[in-house]
Amino acid sequence: MSRTQYEILALALRYWFLLLAAYICVRAVLSLKRPPSRWRQFKSMLLLVLFTGSAFALLGYRQGGAMDIEVMLTGAAAAAALMAQFLLVWMLFRHAELDLLIVSDALLVLGIVMLERLTPDMAMRQVQWLAGGSILLGAGIITGRYLRPKKIWIWLGMAASLALLLLPFLFGEEIRGARNWVTIAGAGFQPSEFVKVGLVLILAGFFSMSERFREYLPAVLFAGLCVVMVVFQKDLGAALIYFAIFLFMQYAATGDWIVSAGALGTAGAGAVAGYFLFDHVRARVLAWRNPFAIGVEYNSGYQIVQSLIAIASGGLFGSGLGMGSPAAVPAADTDFIFSAICEEMGILMGVIIMVLFAVLVAKGIKIARRAPDAFSSLICAGAAIALGIQGFIILGGVTKLIPLTGVTLPFVSYGGSSMLASFFLLGLIEGVSMRNHRVGMMEEDDEDLEDEEEEDAE
């Protein structure tokens, strides 16, 4: 196929990709109201595989000439991994929420396709992370389904989390201004991603055991310590995520708004102090206020400017896969992958991504509200909050809604730590959903619950 033919195909297929993604997105939104049949879910999954296949087939011809087999193999591996993951969850864990899995897999597919277009090596490695993530998904499901709050693992978990957060100070490596990356024995990872999971579990443990401030005080101190440690690693994104997880979980669990307000006040004061104390914080805020200002556009505002320009260049439907210049945006394969997707697949695809994240949050919290006990409810809500907040922070950052703090877009960005942690969090939600079903079978009060839900919705 000649380059010209490829370009024509890429232009035409923009609509096909949008159509498939829109269908999956609409199905996901509808599944909030009423659980679809297994066949429907399977159909969405098949469409996702079709999306993967057609996108990789197209990219296979990107260089002109004959199809690049390596590209096709990556696509096939991705599709096979997705299908295997789906079927395994279906068979091993009856009553897991497959809609939720489809939402996260849809995000993952968009990410892998974009990675293949940007840096093919990373796409292949991302498929490997998908396989690893699937194992963590299973682990998360089992954790969510069977874990009970016990003092022993909570305290051990706190110690382990703090130890993990100490690692960057000892073996840390600075990447894009943040010292949050650790390499031990040749394997690199990002401790803050895993501590995020620990934070959700530990907070859920404390809050489910007591609603009294004095008794959950260790949880407050632990969360505060985590935030301070990542702040000193200049990982402001992680700090923001930890804080939001704490705030939402604390409020939901205890309803003690005085403590919430206190935490908010402390964090606000800390943010203001950080603004005046640290140059890198001030630079972020300045770049957010007006990234196009003289002296900012080519400096601290460069990333955000290039991100906005990339998105604007694609327009509603995008420039077509492989026909834009998304590589002009720094970190297009990790933190800024949203801009790259928007440039080539369109602003509409960007909106679809936002809707998918909103569905993830809504569905996660809906499952949390049906949980039979406070602990299950809180780990499930905590996981949904963690994914939702992280998505919001980076999406808001690259669209200039809030100051940019570099975190990965869960499921979409390239990154092993992020992928494993995100799938584990998803697993927690799935596990709680299974638990709900189990208890619902025993108590058979689902009907009442259903009615109340309806009232709440109105």
Binding site: I309, A328, M354, F392
Partner: protein, 482 residues
Amino acid sequence: MNGPLRKRLGLVAMVLLGMYIVLGAYFAYGQLFYGNRWFARTSNPRSHFVTEDPSVVPGDILDRDGERLAYSVTETYQDESGQSHLRLIRDYNPDARAASHVVGFQDPGKGQAGAEAFYSRYLLGYNNNILESIYQKVFLHQEVGNSIALTVDLELQKDVTRIMAGRTGSAVILDAATGDVYAMVSLPNFDPQDVGNVSGDDLVNRATEGLYAPGSVMKIITAASALTNIPGIDARTWDCAGTVDVDDQTIPCYGTHAHGTIDLTQAFALSCNTTFSKIGDELGWDTLRGTARDFGFEYPFLFSDMQLTESQLPETDDLPDDRLAWTAIGQDDVLVSPMHMAMIAACVANNGVMMEPRMLMAVYNRNDRMIRKPGSRRFREVMTPAIAARLKDIMGQVVECGTGTRAAVEGLQVYGKTGTAEKRVDGKLGNNAWFVGFAEKGDKTLAIAVVIEDAGPGETGGGVAAPKAGQMLASAFERITE
């Protein structure tokens, strides 16, 4: 499980979903309203012309009469291995120097500017629909962009440049009713063919990026503020002794000439500094700043057709009286661009409604079929028609019997205001000589702003800028016919 937890989780979900709704709305709003401007940034590598094997050959830039200002020439050549390549050469009208800052340039060393940069979205065909894109890919040997026609007139640009007679400065001529830019001249200009050897200072478009102390042309705004906010101002008189003391500052009239007892019209026509500094102090900083902001000061203009630098006022909420007095007569920290000043004049002529300056007249596709014709856009309503009419009156007096008599032209009704802003450059005293105004003939009204920035100590706005403005207006009415 307990009910309160479920209720609070519902609230948490609401908050999170609310955040996502805000995110989506902001994302869509930003891209829809600012997307094109963001694309036009010179930091966007997609808007740069590619000279070696370009995938798209950029379209032409025409003036309002269809005269080609910039166009693409391609040549094919073979490299050592016998492969044929395409090279893009951007060529310019031999007279394009007179419109150099309008046309702009794309240069690997000097960056991008002017229409060549700002309208690259059209020139490179980024606005094409899918059918056109596919047609070009299937049937054309080489993809081509669209051509654009600008509202400026090359002949008028040449006249204005000639009338400026080599002085450093800028002149802008607008249609008061539509905002169409008929001429935008910045001097010194440059040869677009040879941008690489031009000094950075000469590449600056003084009309839109140059910020000048307005001097007495600021009195248009002070007068508008006084007419709006001081009841019965028309019946009042002031005594001008040639100087006035405010706090420990002495503000003189030009040449400390005493004007005697005068009313507002005479004070404006004779450009009496003492009277206007008194009016400024009477208005107070909040009121005067409010009016100036209505006129567009301290506003980041986000026009779809050009980038215009924000005009500045003293940056304080609490301006002492002496500085306020200087501000009212356009000194202190007031800075304005010639384009903005022309918009202010046009606004007075247009019954108090300020129009956005319009530069893009039409976009033509490769078959010369018009595919886009942007309309004119209102910027904002600055003042009531009654006050605009009164301002027009007193601006007429300036040309009839005041400081701007040399702007008068046979057969035209000219209105305006002169300004002489004193400045010190490298220890030498000098002036910014201004004339800002408009002229009517039939139902057409053209607004003008002229600034000479290298005027000597004796050269006033009325002396050097006003006669040039008159000649330019005369030429503009001749050139712009339809």
